[in-house]
Amino acid sequence: MLEISKIDVYYGDLQALWDVSLTIEDGEIVALVGSNGAGKSTTVKTISGLLKPRSGSISYNGIRLDKLPAHKMVELGICMVPEGRRLFPEMSVLENLEVGAFVSQARKAKDETISRVYHIFPVLKDRASQAAGTLSGGEQQMLAIGRALMSQPKLLLLDEMSLGLAPLLVRSLSQVIRQINKSGVTLLLVEQNVHMTLELADRGYIMENGRIVDQGDAGVLLGSEQVKHAYLGIM
């Protein structure tokens, strides 16, 4: 279980998050939605250790995350698929996947995990020796997710997965997300695409200007007046 408690996060002297609290239970799909600049990415980056909160705490199954360096997260089973994919452009698809399994326990199961990833995303197998930078946007997103799966995560953080992708592709990726969740992986989906994400998720949090402004059951949020009012047009 992931618990974020009242974190304030700054970029230098500029405050980006105010008093943000969030919990994710094992096995859930939780949505973190809001418009551009609401602080969603900042929150996820803080969970993954790229940013550190100035106050508050983040714990995962009792372990304090905010005190750990970013590269320790994967060992704990937390893996982020960053905004913009952040693949290693000059390395091949296969090499990107291999690097995903860098952590020692994942390295041992590497071959098995790779075939599982190829099963979920067959196109990656076709492009195995192609440089990651030459893939299409959709293929890159698949590789990014596949690479994250290589670390055998227990908690997967997806930052703006649907950004720049065609709706049809987003829909099929959502199916994949559901599959991944069914296999036992907890998920945090950070998105501007409110509707799709809340349909997929169990629970949701709404962010605005660096604060959580609403939370609850995903279905309830979908129907709420506030969401309809605030995000009409961003569907």
Binding site: M80, F88, E90, V99
Partner: protein
């Protein structure tokens, strides 16, 4: 006659590639420019020299030991001088790494003069003067040995970077260090080991220099200059093209010495830097413009 010039150019060029590869690796991966690189070459040369003089170790055989010693020195260098810079923004990080290593060059070169005097030393094994002759071209045996050494080193580095997990983590860190962190890669440790390897490679170059030329504590700067020319020619950050760039420099120098005379050899290298910076700052082998 021209074939002889070209042959020497290739031999010298292979050495130049060897001289540059350690510097290129460290800068390409960690963005630290190690001005002390030349001094570490001299240091490696001295290790080889003492091994040869005291225990008659063949210079080529001494390479692994030289690498080990210099690798450890590289680790110490990173831990003490580079890792304090890691939190700085990239521009300041590069600037400070240059200043610090410039200071370190001063310390090491003068310490070397104190310890070993500025006498020139060279390693002269029994096969020192032996020559090979192929098609009218005479090449020193040592020169061929250095070509072999350079090829071996580059090949070994290639294997390390492509076939091992460590090597892949190094490449990943070079291409996107934040994403690499997210994969569980410890960036600091990656840089630490890379620095060790870079200095170890400087040591290997020094062994070759002690064989082909001579070493003296203040002589590192001249070799650093060569390394820098090769780096600029290949493109700052480019590791793959270093050996070819080195050979190109060797050939251009050899031919131009033939044309304008030996006193101006260094000016040729400088002219190459000016021309490359003027017309193709990203280097000959780098596609993306990383210049301005």
């Amino acid at each position: 006659m021209i074939a002889q010039v070209i042959a020497y150019g290739i031999v010298v060029g292979a050495l130049y590639g060897l001289v540059a590869i350690g510097l290129a690796l460290l800068f390409g991966v960690a963005r630290y420019l190690n001005i002390t690189h030349g001094s570490f070459m001299m240091m490696g040369g001295y290790v080889s020299f003492w091994l040869f003089t005291l225990w008659h170790v063949d210079p080529f055989a001494s390479v692994p030991l030289v690498m080990l010693v210099m690798f450890l020195i590289g680790l110490i260098l990173y831990k003490t001088l580079f890792s304090p810079l890691s939190k700085l923004p990239e521009g300041l990080k590069i600037n400070n790494s240059m200043l610090i290593t410039f200071g370190l060059l001063w310390v090491l070169d003068n310490a070397g003069i104190l310890l070993w005097t500025s006498d020139m030393r060279r390693v002269t094994p029994s096969y020192f003067g032996a020559m090979f002759e192929i098609f009218d071209v005479r090449l020193p045996f040592i020169g061929l040995g250095v070509i072999g050494l350079a090829l071996l080193v580059v090949f070994a580095l290639h294997l390390l970077l492509t076939k091992t997990y460590f090597g892949k983590s190094v490449r990943a860190t070079t291409q996107d260090w934040e994403a690499a962190k997210l994969m569980g890669i410890n960036i600091d440790r990656t840089y630490l080991v890379t620095c060790g390897i870079g200095v170890a490679l400087a040591g290997v170059a020094g062994t070759a220099i002690a064989l082909m030329y001579s070493i003296t504590p203040g002589g590192g700067l001249e070799w650093l200059l060569i390394a820098l020319i090769v780096l600029v020619l290949a493109g700052l950050g480019n590791i793959k093209g270093i050996l070819i760039a080195g050979v190109m420099l060797g050939l251009v120098e050899a031919v131009s010495v033939y044309v304008v005379g030996a006193p101006y050899r260094a000016a040729v290298g400088l002219a190459i830097i000016v021309l490359v910076l003027m017309f193709r700052p990203q280097g000959l082998f780098t596609r993306r413009t990383r210049g301005a």
